[in-house]
Symmetry: C3
Subunit: 274 residues, 3 copies
Amino acid sequence: MMYETLLVEQQDCALLVQLNRPQARNAMSLAMVNELNHVFDRATNDPSIRALVLRGVDGHFCSGGDIKDMAGARAQAQAQTQAAQHGSDTEDAFYTLNRAFGRMITRADNVPCVLITVLEGAVLGGGFGLACVSDVAIAAHSAQFGLPETGLGVVPAQIAPFVVTRVGLTQARRLALLGERFDGEEAVRLGIAHYLCDSKQAIDDTLENVLTKVRRAAPHANRVTKQLLHQVGSMEMDSLLDGAAREFATAVKSDEGAEGTLAFVEKRLPNWAQ
Amino acid sequence: MMYETLLVEQQDCALLVQLNRPQARNAMSLAMVNELNHVFDRATNDPSIRALVLRGVDGHFCSGGDIKDMAGARAQAQAQTQAAQHGSDTEDAFYTLNRAFGRMITRADNVPCVLITVLEGAVLGGGFGLACVSDVAIAAHSAQFGLPETGLGVVPAQIAPFVVTRVGLTQARRLALLGERFDGEEAVRLGIAHYLCDSKQAIDDTLENVLTKVRRAAPHANRVTKQLLHQVGSMEMDSLLDGAAREFATAVKSDEGAEGTLAFVEKRLPNWAQ
Amino acid sequence: MMYETLLVEQQDCALLVQLNRPQARNAMSLAMVNELNHVFDRATNDPSIRALVLRGVDGHFCSGGDIKDMAGARAQAQAQTQAAQHGSDTEDAFYTLNRAFGRMITRADNVPCVLITVLEGAVLGGGFGLACVSDVAIAAHSAQFGLPETGLGVVPAQIAPFVVTRVGLTQARRLALLGERFDGEEAVRLGIAHYLCDSKQAIDDTLENVLTKVRRAAPHANRVTKQLLHQVGSMEMDSLLDGAAREFATAVKSDEGAEGTLAFVEKRLPNWAQ
């Protein structure tokens, strides 16, 4: 598969994915949304991919939705309005466009491997939303986070709910209703990002350090664990723990479980960590 | 409408509401609960009100429930007990009083404009509960927060649940079960308040800064956004995002959406921000 | 009752419980799980117990599940596999063992008195899980927290869900998927623990300070409050507040409520605090 809006490269157990529309500070076009979905499919179906690193080229993560797609939707919506006057009925073009973003973010949230975001420069709108579903977020001190939507007369519809899930209602209501802009340090303080870096070198070192930890975790056990974490809050706790204990029993009797125990006894790294 | 326990003044797009019972450190009487409900109605029905600022006169936010109302309820409860011995059945006076507080806090939580609290001096009991539902909370360093109820043999019944929603179970259980007292700095650290101020001047500057940001946000888009934020957790995420995308489509095609886009292209402030 | 794996001592209104398997850094054996359940029963049924302090002997809180029990379960599972080949059907031994841990943690979460943990040395696996359900957690700076499970090829099945409840999904996904190790300072920063201590003396002082606050809280009111806090999120908010107002009315009319009000008026400590 050739990507038009992404640079994709597999490095050992990690898939490095770079948003690649530098002319638009990596604004998210519909083409990019589709290609990201393709990447998430690939990561879901290939158990050898244990981490997916999302980053932007040229010093920006992602500046939000692409205005050309918005213009396209506007033209389409006008055509729809005219068609509707002649009795034809189609789904609203703005609804379709907006919902496509949210579906992609939901998929990112549920990709079974460890999702790592590297947050530099613009982390706005949809870019902010994507950051909010990563398992590990590495932020440059100078990154600029924000929800500019209400300042433009629109609603951060597919983003604000992920901000609430990320940092709770208390901070999300302030960030969204004031259209706050803030840097990487504040993002770490709020719990949006996990690691704060002051230089490109610090980012690279932190990323390498995180990938080393991912390599130490048993691949299948980590996928099961991620799924389990996502169940909290949407399932009754006792049933959740029942299912989890069954997953534990399966894991401990699997090849991974046997190798992990043996490696521990033999004081060596397990085979998946080598 | 003349208020007995409040000072109310509209300043541009903000309604400034001051709790005004200085003789009781702005303790919340039933009359005040009713007048606050009236204010929330007004803010709900008047779209020109884009922010509601809640503050206390004389250096205190609110010292909790008024003891005179408690004494009144006690007398009423005794009368009820005697009446019940004669077969008459009425709703418990303490239940009614307590529940009225909680209903008012729920209304404050759902007021559609941006709710800003200025937290100085005593922020106790019901005052603490009210702080916990504000979109933006500005705290004086010297403010005193706390849940004194269990020290008095009673239960922070209409407050503790809002503290859990505000800062999570982990901190709420400590604060409530130990009856902790703490200042503005700790309130910001715990995420109860957003901004920490060391002087009256700093409070005024912060408030002005917050109101400037509110003015930049499109009035209707902000109301829709606040409603959306409140849905997270009580609705299934995919349905929530479906509805949100519909709100997005409506907003983008509205006058606000058109003006926001045009202002952006013309590099000027939108008309609602002028 | 004689305990084999615990040291248990009642001191005034507090039950001091020390995990006592120093040879295994207080690893949690099934025997310990059963004895802890017994202790939780005792605290539930005896209203004179207002706090339960959980601590480990010899400078460690708890290093996780005991490997001997795992070996026992492995032997039992192999026997089960053979029995199943002959048509016999029993519950999986690993499931049973794992679930027993989770049930104990759930009981700890719901013990009606104030649960205080003192977190020193190893706070790993099940020990970490137990820390996550305490009302008040006091951490030594030098304590070592972590979820080592996926590094061993297994799943933190009965622990990770309690970590999500404790600090939210955002931090829990990083901690669990990277198998992070961190100290007491980070534990306080993340909100896993509440107080940070640099010495044994500081721990003892903090614990005494916390117990003094527990003594100030009315025993029954505190139990009702704890139950109320646990309902948030699993019950619709309005019904929860209705029930809470009824508990308020009951409390205010009880002996505790009368004594609390009288003590307040007479400017003296209530009888439960003496």
